[in-house]
Amino acid sequence: MKKNILILVVLTLLIVASCSLAPQQPSAPAPASGGGEAAGGSLSGDAAAIAQERSLSPDDITAALKTYLPTGVHDDYVIFASGGHSGQMLVIGVPSMRLLKLIAVFTPEPWQGWGYGAGNEVLDQGNVNGREVRWADTHHPALSETEVDYDGQFVFINDKANARVAVVDLRDFETKQIVKNPVAIMDHGGTMVTPNTEYIIEGGQYAAPLGWEYAPLSDYNDSYRGHVTFWKFDRDKGRIDQDNSFSIELPPYWQDLCDSGKLVSEGWIFCNSFNAERATGGVEKGEPPFEAGASQGDTDYMHIFDLNKAVATFKAGKTMDINDFPVISLQTAIDEGILYLTPEPKSPHGVDVTPDGNFLVVSGKLDPHVTVYSFDKIMSTIKAGQWDTDDYGVPVLALDDVKEASVEVGLGPLHSQFDNQGYAYTSLFLDSAVARWTLGGDFADKHPEEPWQLVSKISVHYNIGHLLTAEGDTVSPDGKYMVAMNKWAIDRFANVGPLLPQNFQLIDIDNTGENMQLLYDMPIGIGEPHYAQMIKYDKLSPWEVYPEIGWDPQEQAVSPNVVQQGEEKVVRNGNEVEVFMTAVRSHFSPEHVEIKEGDHVTWHITNVERAYDATHGFSIPAYNINLSLEPGEHITFEFDADQPGVFSYYCTEFCSALHLEMTGYLVIEPDGSSAMLDQ
């Protein structure tokens, strides 16, 4: 009898244990990606009917299949693109070509609260001589690199109009710093990075007296100068270290774009230029206009910098101060062997170093060739001391001594990028095409064709500027995709009035030879993007939410003013009022803030949420305040309560079912004395 009871208890426990092994996720949604039957063979009846109804060719269908992403599936690559005049940066997925985000950089942007209570200090760093400059002509983003490969940590971008450089942290995709170049009013040849992001390169463009000074145009040759600036990057702090940065004074040749040497050519920097003629324009005075004057000569000058010598010279203090910024003078650069020139045909736009660092590709936009320079030949020519000098005494290496090859690619060649199959791709502005051509040297084994020859062209629509390939300026390009960044769209999209969007065209470059396929057109309707870079998505590791509650994105640390739930309060000290507020679905706390006209208000607000995507907005009407508070984020902002009245602050992100109820009253009582005066 006892035995039977014992067995019964054992059985019962076994049943309990097995019940508790219930499936843990019986209703988990099926993963959206892959797993299904491989699509193969011919189109099914439905698909064929759709293709016929929409007049899709077999090429259209393959293009669609190569770019379509089912819901929930992520892109393989991410593009960081200049936002052009918007002053911002675009984040785009490849191959879907979907706009993922616009990162506020130089220009206020209400969705992110940028300039409306958040990021105001960063925007102020970009003030020019105390003047608020709140737009920018963003040109060339540069991803941070480790051993000449994108590391996914930071991205930099320059503002051509005002010679500024911004630092964006890719942990939260937010701008952390803007530096204004003290030497030059404007720039162009930035940003590019050295192999381990030791320096961010910012080259100049239109020559002017350095230090934002005045000089008449008649003094052009003597007083106008170009520059290249090397911003030291402090990776640990995630900031440009302005105290360890410097510039080099250059002849007034209108330097244009730069690239850093890599591997064998590490430590050397190359910049092209396009007005070695030193034309000064004046079409209204009967002088040749710039477009003609700057195009008279058959060649301009590629600039070759020995960065190691430049850094040594800077560290030795052999610099002059311009606006308290160290500048290596042109004469010092010559004397120390920092700067060399070599001719390049003709009015080129860009110089690009091949993935192995052995060759430099320059495209003279008024010459149908790309000219390829050998780094080895440049070095041996410099070592042999074979050079002439220009009017300023800068050594000029003979083109024949340093040239490796030239390849006729088509009309209006501009920029070049590379793939993993030994091909280079050059944008052809006048042809509205991209040329694929073969590299020589160690690349010759990678492709079936002869080295240094044109392989094929693909038409793009229209007037291409820059182009980019997947990780195409690193030591290990991925190939696969190329994007043509077209200036004109003309008939590619529905007409939306005379100001047309730009056209980013995705092109499949995975096959060798003549097979390149146009896949997708993406309209860009916010500015004229210039350059962009494409990084493998899995190299990025951004935060899902801020690491801790009370995170100050500017410091990348918990703010000393963090407000925890239960610690909300309003503190008055004279007419200084401090508000300590939390935001959580679906209320702000406190919901009443009662102050007086004339108070100076410092408002601390913490989003205490930890859930992915639980962002709250916070706006105060009439006071030009709107914040985006991502989960965990803390923001402190200030304002003068100079307008009495009743203001409903509210959440501007639809955060929850009770989002509309997420509001509160800011009640500003009129100043007693002014009320007296009114009577």
Partner: protein, 237 residues
């Protein structure tokens, strides 16, 4: 009087197996010990494992929200679940079972020590020492049910969604539905270990009784002289 107490104590502690008997049939006396020690170890380890877990599935939480209940604390998306619960007026999860959580570690270690003590008690009294540990899993579940029910039934009537979500009793094991959430509750590793320990204890008790019952009867009837082996074979039937 002292003699009597001593006798009583002797009865509770039970007989020791004679040396020659131990040498001859070592495993017969070893198995109960192994079962009890194994159970005690499982119980101790279970302190560091979640006993019960709850996954909430809703469209806007593709990865689900999970709360792991340990004997003395909770982990997982507790803050988020509390945040959601405030809409229906449920109190924060950490306010539940404060007393139980406070004494849990101490109590469970005590349970395990009692099981270890039972190794040395060869009389039926050993059953009494191990019973608390045997009933740990059902007691845990009962207490969990009490608190789930208490929290589910006592919702703040002034909460935002109190019209939409009426007081309810959450599902303790298996699937349930609250608002847009599908809930899946299951016993987790800690509770499975404690349950396994319970089974081990019962098996150990059975083996212990099988081994020592003849000796106990021998002790109680010292005049009868029967071979233990005969006694045992009778017992086994």
């Amino acid at each position: 009087m002292i003699m009597m107490t001593s006798d009583k104590l002797q009865q509770i502690i039970g007989p020791r197996a004679p040396a020659e008997e131990l040498a001859a049939r070592r495993m017969r006396y070893m198995w109960p010990t192994l079962c009890m020690v194994g159970a005690a170890i499982l119980i101790i380890i279970s302190i560091f494992m979640p006993y019960w877990s709850l996954i909430l599935h809703a469209p806007q939480y593709p990865k689900g929200l999970t709360v792991y209940a340990y004997v003395n604390h909770m982990e997982g998306d507790v803050a988020e679940i509390d945040g959601l619960n405030h809409y229906i007026g449920m109190r924060p999860l950490n306010e539940a079972a404060k007393f139980e959580k406070a004494i849990s570690i101490f109590s469970i270690i005590a349970l395990a020590l009692l099981v270890l003590a039972a190794v040395f008690i060869h009389s039926p009294w050993s059953t009494l020492l191990t019973l608390p540990a045997v009933f740990l899993p059902p007691v845990f579940l009962a207490d969990l049910f009490y608190w789930l029910n208490n929290f589910g039934q006592n919702l703040d009537p002034h909460a935002a969604l109190s019209n939409a979500v009426k007081p309810f009793t959450p599902t303790i094991l298996g699937e349930g539905i609250i608002g847009q959430f599908k809930t899946v509750a299951y016993a987790d590793v800690g509770l499975l270990m404690a349950s396994t320990a319970s089974i081990l204890i019962l098996v150990g008790l059975y083996l212990q009784r099988r081994a020592y019952k003849p000796l106990v009867e021998q002790m109680n009837q010292p005049n009868q002289k029967e071979t233990s082996s005969e006694q045992e074979s009778a017992n086994d039937e």
